[in-house]
Amino acid sequence: MTAFLPSVKSASSKELADRQFAVLQEAFGQASRSFQTEMADRHQDFLALLKKRGVSLEQWTDYATRALIGGALAGTLLMVPGAKQSPSDAAQTVQAAAPAASAQLAPTEALKPVDVGSELKNLLPDAYQAPTSAGEQQIGQMLSSAFHVSAVPELDGHRLNKVLTVMGGEQHLRRFPGDVASEHTGLSIAPGAGGIAPGNGAYGLWANSKAGLSDEAVNQEQYYIAAQTFLAPGFRDNPNTLYQWFKYRKMIAVNAKTGQACVVDIGDAGPASWTGKSSGGSPEVLDVLGLGEGSRKGPVLLYFIDDPNNTVPLGPIQAQAPVTVSPARGGS
């Protein structure tokens, strides 16, 4: 029924399944990271209650999964849904059963959030002071480790004019002729919030009509940044090549004060030097970076993501580190 290309046939169905399943796992992991970010951003009262009980959000989610679904874990756990056992008690149980609870992450590992904001305070004491060349590398290594991506200040011999930028708020970009702000839905912010730019972005429209708009294009606009590509080293010598190279180039944007981060793409050129700003973020990007309120401006690190297979999805990303989970003391 379906004909496959020879290149596909060369890989076994198991290899293809493994490759595809890795994408699935990463996507579900991304959903979990978005969940954690949203809870941290919007439901501090919930997190405060967890803190009071001495459990992390991840531990609580494990607990809730068992309480609501049970499933594979039910037989291995002592607690039953609805029983009078607090999450802090449950955390011990979860810890004991952690290998099964976090099976989607790794057989014997769980992930814990990393406080990138604190890490940055060490590496970048002044959030507005550009790092040295060595500092750029150190920060890149820290971001790579924390976010599990390859974050580099320079890629393929190209770099932006700045790694540490002052990012301001941008409007939405038109994706097709007649696109209006209210069409920009499905975001964590209100539909249409942020308005829409009167002209097209530097790379033009994404599609000729609304019907022709792909999911990828929707994501690219949603998480676009404006970068001063025209000030990038070598741009004047080779504008056409660099224009194409920067177009929709994937980067990680990190709030230099708080560590909040988002995987973004370069979707526009700007802002002008005289504005005092050196990058711009879509309404969604600003929101993810914690800059959506007040002056809508702040210091943001921009690193390229070396992602030749395009496996890192655009959108919020949370820093996490694997921790080996050992059985609770006294556990049977």
Binding site: T2, A27, G71
Partner: protein, 158 residues
């Protein structure tokens, strides 16, 4: 019930509204063991999961991938996790600002769901829950489609 405002995640109920909610429905307290209670959004999630899994399987078929039984089990676990995340994102704003949020933390399987339905309406709650689920699918879909080689569209071959 008719005067109850629609659910707005950006504007969760105040403590006063919450108190009104708590007194809105009289009747026996919720059973302590919630294992016998129908899981909130169970039908909605099963449908979402079935359709999403079918889509994932279609893409696997188009690209020639065959998942192992272990991977299918793992996929099931991943969906379970997603259910809990969407469930938490749906209910937390409804319970914010009241001591019922603490109850929810302690016993996530019993958010006094029936009372929430009375106040916000089943349809509205379902819509919120599914919106969280769909947001995930919207982001997953293009990633998976990238794995399908061009030409492997079931229409024509070499």
């Amino acid at each position: 019930m008719a005067e109850t405002p629609p659910y707005n995640p950006e504007n969760p109920p105040s403590v006063e509204q919450d108190a009104a909610l708590a007194s809105h429905v009289e009747g026996p307290a919720a059973p302590e063991v919630a294992v016998e209670t129908a899981r909130p959004f169970a039908a909605e999630f099963e449908q979402f999961k079935t359709e999403s899994t079918a889509e994932i399987m279609d893409i696997a078929r188009l690209s020639g991938a065959e998942y192992s039984p272990e991977q299918m089990d793992q996929l099931d676990e991943l969906f379970n996790r997603l259910y809990v995340e969407a469930y938490t994102l749906t209910l937390t704003p409804l319970l914010a600002g009241s001591n019922r949020l603490g109850d929810f933390v302690d016993n996530p399987a019993d958010p006094q769901f029936q009372r929430l339905i009375e106040v916000y309406g089943q349809a509205e709650l379902n819509a919120q829950f599914l919106a969280h689920c769909q947001r995930f699918l919207t982001r997953l879909r293009p990633q998976l489609h990238r794995l399908v080689p061009s030409g492997a569209d079931g229409q024509a071959g070499p």
